[in-house]
């Protein structure tokens, strides 16, 4: 009786779920990429993270801030893992405003690993004004802030197309197959050979889009590798403990005539 009820329950739930496509027909599903960081034991591709940082630095960073990251993060385990020297050099390549000094004056100095990533604009309003009224979002947690996550970011980067007939675009607006609403104010910034990868990888649009998305996925979840590793250990531990407790329970309950 109860079993058939549960069947009914499951069936009606499946029916409900199958109604979903009715609603979101106008949005194109993002491209599914087989990211190395997916799955229970996923980790980031170190080389891809380093290349991705290069794309961010040379292309994205002129408009997009990453204010919650520090240069030291680039050398931490689970990330791009640049060497200490490289991190110092990267940080020092930025002029950071500091102060006030003992005279009350602000001054600039070369960046240190403990500094936060330097933002391209002093504030949101300045960023918005400089980009035709569209604020280029901070990219620290962008992958977590978009439905579809890394797949969506990657899809938008490679999703620029000529608008279909009948769609007119204002100046400074571009057509993108995967962007919600299909209209985007960010131009297509990636073109083949745009950056020269230090490791000699060919910088196709697809490669750069994958690398920078990997970098952004790490930036949003720098704890991902440790989280996955700890998770596996925790679950193994809990499974063993559960087994032991189950056996103890069986033993204890064998004293009474009721099954557990």
């Amino acid at each position: 009786m109860i079993k058939s009820n549960i069947k009914l329950l499951v069936l009606s739930f499946l029916l409900l779920i199958s109604l979903r496509p009715l609603q979101s027909a106008e949005m194109v599903d993002p491209i599914k990429v087989d990211w190395s960081f997916k799955g229970l034991t996923g980790t980031f591709d170190r080389a891809s993270l380093q290349r991705g940082f290069q794309v961010y630095k040379e292309v994205c960073a002129s408009c997009h801030s990453m204010q919650y990251l520090s240069y030291r993060n680039l050398g931490e385990p689970g990330g791009p893992e640049f060497s200490e020297q490289e991190v110092k050099a990267i940080a020092a390549s930025f002029e950071i405003e500091d102060g006030p000094d003992s005279q009350g004056e602000m001054f600039t100095r070369p960046g240190k690993p403990s500094d936060k990533f330097k933002s391209p604009y002093p504030n949101v309003q300045a960023a918005t004004a400089a980009n035709g009224g569209a604020y280029p979002p901070d990219m620290s947690v962008l992958v977590k802030a978009r439905k579809g996550g890394a797949n969506y970011i990657y899809s938008v980067l490679v999703g620029y197309e000529d608008p279909p007939p009948g769609v007119t675009l204002d100046d400074g607006v571009y057509y993108n197959k995967y962007m919600v609403g299909n209209k985007i104010k960010m131009p297509n910034n990636l073109m083949d050979g745009l950056v020269e990868y230090a490791d000699g990888t060919e910088s196709t649009v697809d490669q750069m889009a994958k690398d920078v998305t990997t970098f952004l996925a790490w930036a949003a979840e720098p704890e991902l590798e440790e989280r996955h590793r700890t998770g596996v250990k925790v679950i193994i531990y809990l499974a063993l403990l559960t087994t032991l407790v189950y056996l103890s329970m069986k033993k204890i309950w064998s004293r009474v005539d009721t099954e557990v």
């Binding site: 977590k144 802030a145 439905k147 925790v234 679950i235 329970m249 309950w253 009474v256 557990v260």
Partner: protein, 419 residues
């Protein structure tokens, strides 16, 4: 209660116990006679206690690093995620812990509905439980506001605006709740304060909930009164403690699965966008555990009507013990009511689903049908079915065969296998 008076063995123990009978209380809790046929649906009380403690402990640590200010809250959460040692773990346990808490409480409530645990003499346990549930919803809602993301801000705006539907004083009340003329820094501040307070109120109510439970003792799957202690009961320790521990561990494995492998799947991606009063998200949705009520709210074309109906959906549960006219507690022996119980389960799941969808077209129709059934179930089905239904024969005790048709092997035992 029929337990023997506990006398501490040591002199010091006796001296202390005469002044504050903590040892007597401890003995009562370990010896507490519990029906031996409790199934795994009964383990959620212990699981819920674990959830509450987990939320309080992780919450206290988070509060050491969190900054309740509109300009700093979002950044402080990122600080917790990136710079605090194991901050990501603590925060993910806390945020997923809220969902696990509600998952457990819904199972706990529906278990009570199925086995008639809310009926005499356990009405007060039920009512205290509902008060806990109400406070849980308030705590969860305010907690969701704290990261000050887009869903935090707009969720707070939608929910607090509900109070403006009250005639005459609505707008004044809303402004008073906000501490400003819109959801703003003062709102965030007071929500943080209340979010920290409420769990301790819940803790107090949990003590009362358990106290009230220990007066009549546990209901059980057969739903009959039993002699305590007797061969129908087992002492709470070690029998129930070990069983609760086993169930809790299984629960923790699922919990850990969420925390370590899909920590954001139950949240909304928009909440990683900092709150922006000038940009309204396309769909404002509450967390999943509030969706059925959100569906009821939106199913009514009139704002005040929706608000009244939504609150009624919760408050009707308070009078449930008096709406149910059946003398039989457990739905195991109620062939008609049992069917309606499952329809209610489906109905609530459906309301939850349409609550997440835009309030238009088929979803609006489903929401209205679901809302109507929800109320019909409690106002019409429960009193009428309880009155008309011919219930199955009920066993005299957990261990003994049914009252009528003694040839039948112990039905209680069969019941136990089934559920």
């Amino acid at each position: 209660m029929s337990e023997q008076e506990y006398v501490p063995k040591s002199k010091v123990g006796k001296w202390f116990n005469d002044r504050l009978p903590l040892l007597t209380l401890g003995a009562h809790l370990t010896d507490y006679p519990t029906p031996k046929n409790l199934n795994y649906w009964w383990t959620f009380g212990g699981i819920l206690t674990f959830c509450l403690i987990t939320q309080i402990v992780t919450g206290i640590v988070l509060a050491m690093h969190y900054v309740a200010h509109a300009d700093l809250a979002f950044a402080s959460v990122e600080h917790i995620m990136r710079d605090v040692n194991y901050g990501w773990l603590i925060r993910y346990i806390h945020s997923n812990g809220a969902s696990m808490f509600f998952l457990a409480v819904y199972i706990h409530i529906f278990r009570s509905l199925f086995y008639g645990s809310y009926k005499s003499p356990r009405e007060v346990i039920w009512i205290i439980g509902l008060m806990i549930y109400l406070l849980m919803m308030a705590a969860a809602f305010m907690g969701y506001v704290l990261p000050w993301g887009q869903m935090s801000f707009w969720g707070a705006t939608v929910i607090t605006n509900l109070f403006s539907a009250i005639p005459l004083v609505g707008d004044s009340i809303t402004t008073w709740l906000w501490g400003a003329y819109s959801v703003d820094n003062p709102t965030l501040n007071r929500f943080f304060s209340l979010h920290y307070l409420i769990p301790f109120l819940i803790l107090g109510l949990v003590v009362l909930h358990i106290w009230a439970l220990h007066v009549p003792g546990n209901n059980n799957p057969v739903g009959i009164d039993i002699k305590k202690p007797s061969k129908d009961t087992v002492p709470f320790h070690p029998y129930i403690t070990i069983k609760d521990a086993f169930a809790l561990l299984v629960f923790m494995i699922i919990f850990a699965g969420f925390v370590f492998f899909t920590p954001n799947v139950l949240g909304h991606s928009d909440n990683y966008i900092p709150a922006n009063p000038l940009v309204t998200p396309a769909h404002i949705v509450p967390e999943w555990y509030l969706l059925p009520f959100y569906a009821i709210l939106r199913s009514v074309p009139d704002k005040l009507g929706g608000v009244i109906l939504m609150f009624s959906a919760i408050f009707i549960l308070f009078v449930l013990p008096w709406l149910d006219t059946s003398k039989v507690r457990s739905a195991v022996f109620r062939p008609i009511y049992r069917q309606f119980f499952w329809i209610l389960v489906i109905d609530v799941l459906m309301l939850g689903y349409v609550g997440a969808m835009p309030a238009e077209g088929i979803y609006l129709v489903l929401a209205r049908v679901g809302t109507i059934y929800y109320f019909l179930h409690f106002i019409v089905v429960m009193p009428v079915v309880g009155y008309l239904e011919k219930t199955d024969p009920i066993p005299m005790s957990i261990s003994e065969p049914v009252l009528t048709g003694g040839a039948e092997p112990s039905l209680a035992r069969k019941v136990n296998d089934k559920v």
